[in-house]
Assembly symmetry: D2
Homo-oligomer: 371 residues x 4
Amino acid sequence: MSKKEVITDTELKEYYDGMKNSYLGPLWYDLGHMVTKEPVHDVEPYLWKWKTIRDYVMKAGEILEPGKDAERRVVYLQNPNLLKHGLVGYGTHTLYAGIQLLLPGEFAPSHHHSQGAIRFIIEGSGAYTAVNGEKVYMERGDMILTPAWTWHEHKHEGTEPMIWLDGLDVGLVKNLAASFFEPYENGFYPEQPLENYSTEKFAKGAFVPKGKKEKPGYPSPIIGYKWERAKYVLEQMSKSPKENEDPYDGYAIEYINPTTGGSADERIGSMMQRLLPNQHTKAHRHVHSAIYHVLEGKGYTVINGQKFEWERGDFFILPPWSWHEHVNEGSEDAYLFSFNDKPVMDILGLEYEEAHPEGHQKIEKVFTPGP
Amino acid sequence: MSKKEVITDTELKEYYDGMKNSYLGPLWYDLGHMVTKEPVHDVEPYLWKWKTIRDYVMKAGEILEPGKDAERRVVYLQNPNLLKHGLVGYGTHTLYAGIQLLLPGEFAPSHHHSQGAIRFIIEGSGAYTAVNGEKVYMERGDMILTPAWTWHEHKHEGTEPMIWLDGLDVGLVKNLAASFFEPYENGFYPEQPLENYSTEKFAKGAFVPKGKKEKPGYPSPIIGYKWERAKYVLEQMSKSPKENEDPYDGYAIEYINPTTGGSADERIGSMMQRLLPNQHTKAHRHVHSAIYHVLEGKGYTVINGQKFEWERGDFFILPPWSWHEHVNEGSEDAYLFSFNDKPVMDILGLEYEEAHPEGHQKIEKVFTPGP
Amino acid sequence: MSKKEVITDTELKEYYDGMKNSYLGPLWYDLGHMVTKEPVHDVEPYLWKWKTIRDYVMKAGEILEPGKDAERRVVYLQNPNLLKHGLVGYGTHTLYAGIQLLLPGEFAPSHHHSQGAIRFIIEGSGAYTAVNGEKVYMERGDMILTPAWTWHEHKHEGTEPMIWLDGLDVGLVKNLAASFFEPYENGFYPEQPLENYSTEKFAKGAFVPKGKKEKPGYPSPIIGYKWERAKYVLEQMSKSPKENEDPYDGYAIEYINPTTGGSADERIGSMMQRLLPNQHTKAHRHVHSAIYHVLEGKGYTVINGQKFEWERGDFFILPPWSWHEHVNEGSEDAYLFSFNDKPVMDILGLEYEEAHPEGHQKIEKVFTPGP
Amino acid sequence: MSKKEVITDTELKEYYDGMKNSYLGPLWYDLGHMVTKEPVHDVEPYLWKWKTIRDYVMKAGEILEPGKDAERRVVYLQNPNLLKHGLVGYGTHTLYAGIQLLLPGEFAPSHHHSQGAIRFIIEGSGAYTAVNGEKVYMERGDMILTPAWTWHEHKHEGTEPMIWLDGLDVGLVKNLAASFFEPYENGFYPEQPLENYSTEKFAKGAFVPKGKKEKPGYPSPIIGYKWERAKYVLEQMSKSPKENEDPYDGYAIEYINPTTGGSADERIGSMMQRLLPNQHTKAHRHVHSAIYHVLEGKGYTVINGQKFEWERGDFFILPPWSWHEHVNEGSEDAYLFSFNDKPVMDILGLEYEEAHPEGHQKIEKVFTPGP
């Protein structure tokens, strides 16, 4: 190879300045920031106490009227560090979590959007979500899908406040410049006569009308996933611990689309974990991020060496590529619901998982909420 | 084109004889028999009265001891015309139907075979089928899968005779020279502790243990299909007749594998039809053949112009490519269960269906059983 | 279990006679014939010398005029033992092989049928097959697909006789009562302007017109498979013997549908084997059957202990579930083309393969053709 | 509904401040920014003249030694507006484009990364890319895949400078916190003896070694896509304009993975367009973004009302959801190569396309490069 030219500092500066002014860049300086050895991100782990969230949500019920002051009465979780980067409404870089309140007699009119959504019911009963007209009644612990671009609305026929989690892939869709939204023109999408139809169709065997076979694919033919049934399966699993215990998640089930065997929602994964009293899982990390909600129990999760203590109702953020392990400190079973962006990582071939080399992390600090 | 040679009759005879002795043949004479314009077959429509079948089955219970005189105490349906062609045990060219009896306290030991099988429960309760160790209890109207090459056994813990239909693709597998069979060496495949597990897993929502995702495919993750649930779905369907009524089959559901949306068994299709009082379906024909069992009701089916009158318990054969239509003559709903070779025709690209040009057939004769 | 009833011989005879007259059968006597431990069949191994076949085919060219005496001038291979069972035109229980002659200036008009077909070119050039109007020119060693229900015709623009193999799944489709056939009403399906289009489309890279993406599936987007290219790949393979040599088939390639990775035709598999001089493969058996054609070389194949000596042009039958091994006795490479029913066995879950326990068979007799 | 509480401004401020300090947010204020009616983004359309790019790249060849000063000698395109948001190395929000120079005798050592990459060859010959050891020689107009996490290296055995485009999904992978990178420990991944193997394998027919069937899926079994062949297909297409002309892209082909029918790379789409002299396509917009390179010809593209004039070698950015139409102003055919993030949008269910209501845009301004 010919010997390289000698170049003066002035010439070099001119070269790089000229490049910059031409909106060109020298990869040899910037590669390390563009293609990193491991995931780099700004997502911060954080935990919100249920009491705090609930107070703000209930207060919103006092001061806001849906349909007048707000289409939906929702308080969302804001990742502190992402806020510093101007990212409003981000729980993680891909996921959004909002806590919605619907009071007796109220409704939220139909709309649809390119964001997918799952609902997880926290308090109350007597309300339903209608998805493309199919009514699904909501009870504590249930998960309900409103897949991307399906018309959905909520109506409350019951007598007590109804509170649920909305989980959407707001950050993902925003990053991909793919957000579309439309309200339904006439308020409500026509409702079908049958209730909980898709939930029942697969119950105790699977049948479809002749000639109307379900094609494997999305959206899932099941809209509502009952807590009672999820709990039953988790209880059955603990009877065969060797076969069913997951080292990192205790006893854990994923909500699936029965026609594909994949996650219930196309882009948003969902999981329920059961931790037995004193169960302490091993630590691992993975590319996907998650937002957790404590359905029942008391314990803590260690994330990157920091201890996050949780109890019933709390929410916390698991950033991407972060070591984490869970501990049930209570005398009862703990149930953690979480939703995540794992299906996106899987489908794009980007998921990767690693066990902690020592099994467990050292706890270096204890988290307390607040700025 | 050059003029063709003149050839004497003697030379011609020599030519064809020589060809025959060389095991060669002239396609120009035989094409019409090999590649026919429409399906040609030897399958005869036939009907068996339940009383006749049941008497012979119950009598077998008196004279045969399972495990000594017979591994399984089964009386099978024999297509009369196929018997003339030496085909023993054929219901249609592809399908076999046997009626099995298991008495209280008895069992049928584990075996497996390359034939697929479905069971449809006709009488009794308290017995179970175990499929690869998973126990599924059997009740009237239920369908149970024992997919090809799965270990299966039957045990009767109840107090009354248990009778069910065995549906296998004996003819298909024999024609394809693909029959394999093995008894389980030590009598019984190890049983799992959970009962009806796969049936329940999909009930009211779909969950799988984390990291053990069902891959779409066969065998179906559901083994047992409950009559109670099939009936519920059929009843729901008749609330929206315009949407759900099938011109040829009344209200009809197919038993599916939820992970593929295809038929429950990979090669054997299964269907339950509900005919309302006085319902008279239109006539059509299709490549696939079927064997019917009358779960409930009273009526008749016209097959290629011949009337087959049926009532509770009867069985009848629908040959391939045969016009057929169903009539419920009773004052109650009629329920017809059938199994078929449609999945084979579908997967091989050979299924084809045709509506009768006049909607209905003329009845030219009435069937009576017997030789 | 309660003691079984004592029954007289007369009563027993009455029982079985009555059952028979009711077209019912005792499974306890017949199970062993219906569900056999291993495949049972009537397919006989056989070999035809090319000279014999060619003489009869060429003679047909002298005495028959296509379009007048015969739509297609074809001599087919007849399995001797299947003929005894009345099965005319069967090479194996599923496969048919015919040798077709087209003279210069002749044509065979368009038709289609539910049978799939492959063509393998033995002699001549200058003719083409048009498949749904796409013209594919035929040269020695090429394979051409005319998938089930595609319109196809042959035209000869060249100057010498053109001879090729037609391989169809006649037996399979007949057994399944699924034969449909139609001539094209006006003689010829309209031809497209581009020649060999689908063959070229995938050449040296894969491109499709925007918005007209090939969906994975059948029929294959490739119609013509060139011998020149098959040979090139086989020659490349022998450079890495450890990686590429197959113990049972030497160097072997399968013709595939690039959109599925599965066999080129949906139901008919096709394979080209290259045996190096003195190469002697190991023995195995499998459920699927095959018909072989010797493209080049001299050697023998041992089938169930019988030696079948072959040379260029010969054809032979490999029955299902038969031990077989191949030997190249010549000083040049041998090339064996074969087509089979493996895709059917695969797709129905019925394929099974077994290595010979001693690696090779003992030769017990040598085959000579004739009755 | 009960009348809402009266709340003082002080209380309201306290409420919102408290929420903010608790890292909670009021969806009723922020929803419009999170779930927008249409895609919102910061990607700016831009065009770089080839002369400018080439000068900086060639200069890098004089001042940088690969392996010492730089692992790869690459100048990348920097989207001006994304730079303002601190996003270095972004062509669009998802895509990166770099122009790489390899001088005779040089090499770039093996590495792999979770980003996918395509190469498009601009100048020179005699160099090859090895992908997991398979050598693919590079010629002007060829596209070569180095799918995510495959080991790849470049070596130059020729005599003139070699310049090519590197297209990676840097932004996508960074946004998803999924970047992994590893150098190969010992410099070079072992090379396979066969050259251009996968490119040839599918040429003029498709064959795979027996028992090594390609499973449909990623990465594509084809690595190299030849310009000569792409051009041939585009020329064939213009013979049937009605069938093959695309209203928005002239004559356009997509580079595919033959086993799936989908895009050649799993996440990066690639397309070649041919515009006949004077051809003026219609305007449309779609969610996916793209980076264009002018292989041959002279013309312009109108993006959101702004005219971008291009000639051989130029690059330009098409942001997401931007109106665009192309015009060939030269007397020769124009060929535009582009790569895009369409597969990501498709697979995530986020792609959407819209025709311009008036067919064409009004040109409101003309682009000139520079800050």
